[in-house]
Symmetry: C2
Subunit: 193 residues, 2 copies
């Protein structure tokens, strides 16, 4: 009987893809094992149970999302950076809803857990984008939380099919970014002498 050639990375990647297809909540060791052409207990040679698997998927998702945002922002500034960053995040959620869902709700288990830094990266990239607007220091955190909330909320509602009417969702998103940009630039002007 030939080996299946699995390791922790392959299993995690396959689990992530499966989660994207059926939802992180439906992910099970047995379905994943079937998908990989292996019996369920074999997965335990590579991954420490379902909990550990979803944790790994969360790290993967956060890392990939961070990569996507960073790449989108590279070489841009101002509204363009804001639009690119938020669209990159939203696009990642659309392409990988299961991985993204794994990141929400996941909490680092300790100081050496790679999940902590991984989760921080997309947020940090957004923070950099917002610095272009020259906000007051105590406003930066509020603006960051706002943008995070907006993109996260929009993407998750979109993912669950929560937007009902026929109005174009893409258009709503760009309108929202425009709204943000205007408001943030207004604040900046507010603080000029």
């Amino acid at each position: 009987m030939p080996r299946a050639g699995l390791d922790a990375e392959v299993v995690t990647e396959a689990g992530a893809t499966l989660a994207d297809e059926i939802g992180i909540g439906q992910l099970s060791m047995s379905i994943l094992a079937t998908r990989l052409g292996v019996k369920t207990p074999s997965l335990y040679k590579h991954v420490d149970g379902l909990g550990a698997l979803t944790h790994r998927i969360a790290v993967l998702g956060a890392t990939e999302a961070g990569d996507a945002v960073e790449e989108a922002v590279r070489g841009r500034s101002g509204v363009e950076a804001l639009a690119a960053a938020t669209q990159a995040l939203r696009g990642y959620v659309r392409r990988h809803p299961g991985r993204y869902a794994a990141t929400t709700g996941a909490r680092p288990t300790g100081d050496d857990d790679p999940l902590g830094p991984a989760l921080a990266r997309p947020i940090a990239s957004l923070a950099v984008v917002l610095q272009d607007y020259g906000l007051e220091p105590d406003e930066e955190i509020h603006a960051l939380r706002m943008v995070r909330s907006m993109v996260h909320g929009f993407a998750t509602i979109e993912d669950t099919g929560g937007f009902q009417w026929a109005a174009d969702v893409d258009e709503s998103f760009t309108w929202m970014i425009d709204f943000l940009d205007h408001g943030l630039r207004g604040r900046h002007d507010l603080h000029l002498p």
Copy 2:
């Protein structure tokens, strides 16, 4: 052996409360049965399984959230209505995270499913609030989606403990509402002759 005095409402309410405590994902028929002092199969006399139970919790949550927003808005207008509505929604999520989580992801199963109207109510209330800003008709849907996304995103991030730094979360929320109000009023002025 005396009867436990259960019916569908009591079971749903108890399930909702349990979901608020341990999370909708951890809700199980067996824990709920134990909580109600009854054996698991007895619950099936009142509720058609775990899926049906969470569906009922979703209807309950959406209805309660709708009530909360409607009451908050009553007698107010403008920013005050916007602040009251969004704070009411956020407050509901804080008080009843399990019920709210049940509403997200739940989809009506048919035209006679009470979930549809229940989910629509909080959104409709928000739409009414936004009408005070006298937006252009084609902008209304974008603004509504934006506000929904923002509040939903903020509340869910807050619920999962996603806001890290010590900065006051209440302050961020009121800052965000203020930002919205300014932007929305600005749009209105934009469209005056």
